[in-house]
Symmetry: C2
Subunit: 233 residues, 2 copies
DNA sequence: CTTGACACAGAACAAGCGTTCGGGTATCAT
DNA sequence: ATGATACCCGAACGCTTGTTCTGTGTCAAG
């Protein structure tokens, strides 16, 4: 008997409102007025917009200040639904990367939002390539010295974009079943082999025959090294 | 004859207004109303607040939308005056660092605010050591491969804190007049010499006698490597 | 002393804006 | 049919807010 007409929860209109709220806030640095919302969401009556805002407030997506113009504040919960487009980006640290351990598997399209914010890094969007929307970025923490030929140290954080293919010259994270090893190298496709070039020019490349297995896991977008503690010894 | 009563340019009141604008925006996610500004800045008339806002707009610190409630937008120029207290930190890139060129001179206490925002990097505060307030941080862009023994590459950005001394195990930027060279090394003070240890453990340290000159310019706080373009060749 | 820029107050007006209320129309379960 | 529920409109009311106009006192230059 408990059947409801529509979805009862969040509808297309709710999403539209939240999206406009974030867009407007982004563009003008202030929330829109009720009438401005109505225009964009095709609601001709202010009371209906008010109606939706009340619902969204009850659902916890926003807070409202009584009798204050543009008194709408989006909450963190909105980020569960709307992609927040501020100047900050929270990238989850999925795990360690080291020579002997496989890279974490990635389901494409799944957003790895960790509620545990201890396992994430914040990155300024201005540091990313402009076209990079950063949607599926993830990070790995380097363990051990095995990436030293990529000039990446123990403790460094590697920000990556999921990828299974790469163009010549891009730095990629690969898993080499042959050697049972994860590594970061510049990727080059040659006649009948792949050349994996260390970032350190004094070191020699690895060659992998095209017939041999080679799993590209992602492209490296950024490397961050925090120098918190002095080096021991 | 061109003497003016007060400072002609920006006054204490202007600063107060800008500060309240940023604080309020930070707290509520929307700009304050004119009357709200008046309350906090001890101005009893809305017309006077309007008067100041018009001035600040002419000076380029903010933009206003006509007849829109809370239609005040702060511009980037504000960051030259007000320390933005969000979770972002803008660190100026003072110049290049390379083996052959001296490090930029730093006047302690002077804030190197560049009006050219192209020469700065934004860093999330959460990436810094918690005690680090980041007040005098600056950044250098590494040119060439000479820092390769510090596992730092051409194009990397090194974020540093000004310092003339260092404790054992900290990574520092030093200028070696003996070799006419700038370099990044882990610093160790030993009996009668300094040991400058490359981050790459396969490489050998440099020893400097305590009688020889050695100028510590700063401690390395962070290294950022952007992988925007593929490696050529 | 006069003039004029400057910093401010106060009041009044109109437009912006949130709130509320009465009414309307579907859809679905009873 | 009937009522409940969800969705929607329009209008009116009153507070909020930006704008504008008049007026006052101060200070430096002429």
């Amino acid at each position: 008997m408990m059947m409801v007409r529509k979805s009862k929860g969040i509808t297309e209109k709710h999403i539209k409102v939240l999206e406009f709220l974030t867009d407007y806030q982004n563009k003008y640095g202030r929330p829109p007025s009720i009438r401005e919302i109505g225009e964009k969401v095709k609601i001709s009556s202010t009371s209906v917009v008010n109606y939706y805002l009340d619902q969204l407030e009850k659902m916890g997506y926003l807070e409202r200040d009584d009798r204050v113009s543009r008194g709408v504040r989006l909450t963190d919960k909105v980020s569960e639904i709307i992609q927040i487009t501020t100047d900050m980006l929270r990238v989850p640290i999925l795990g360690p990367i080291a020579a002997g351990i496989p890279l974490p598997e990635l389901q494409p399209g799944v957003s790895y939002v960790t509620d545990n914010e201890a396992h994430a890094v914040d990155i300024a969007r201005s540091l990313l390539p402009s076209k990079e929307k950063g949607e599926n970025l993830f990070a790995l923490e380097v363990k051990g010295d095995s990436m030293i030929d990529a000039m990446i140290n123990d403790g460094d954080i590697v920000v990556m974009k999921p990828a299974t293919e790469a163009r010549n010259g891009e730095m990629v994270a690969v898993w080499l079943p042959r050697d049972n090893e994860a590594t970061l190298k510049y990727f080059f496709k040659e006649k009948d082999r792949y050349r994996l070039q260390p970032a350190n020019p004094t070191m020699k490349p690895i060659f992998i025959k095209k017939t041999d297995p080679l799993e590209i896991k992602g492209k490296v977008v950024m490397v961050i090294r925090k120098m918190e503690k002095p080096l021991a010894v």
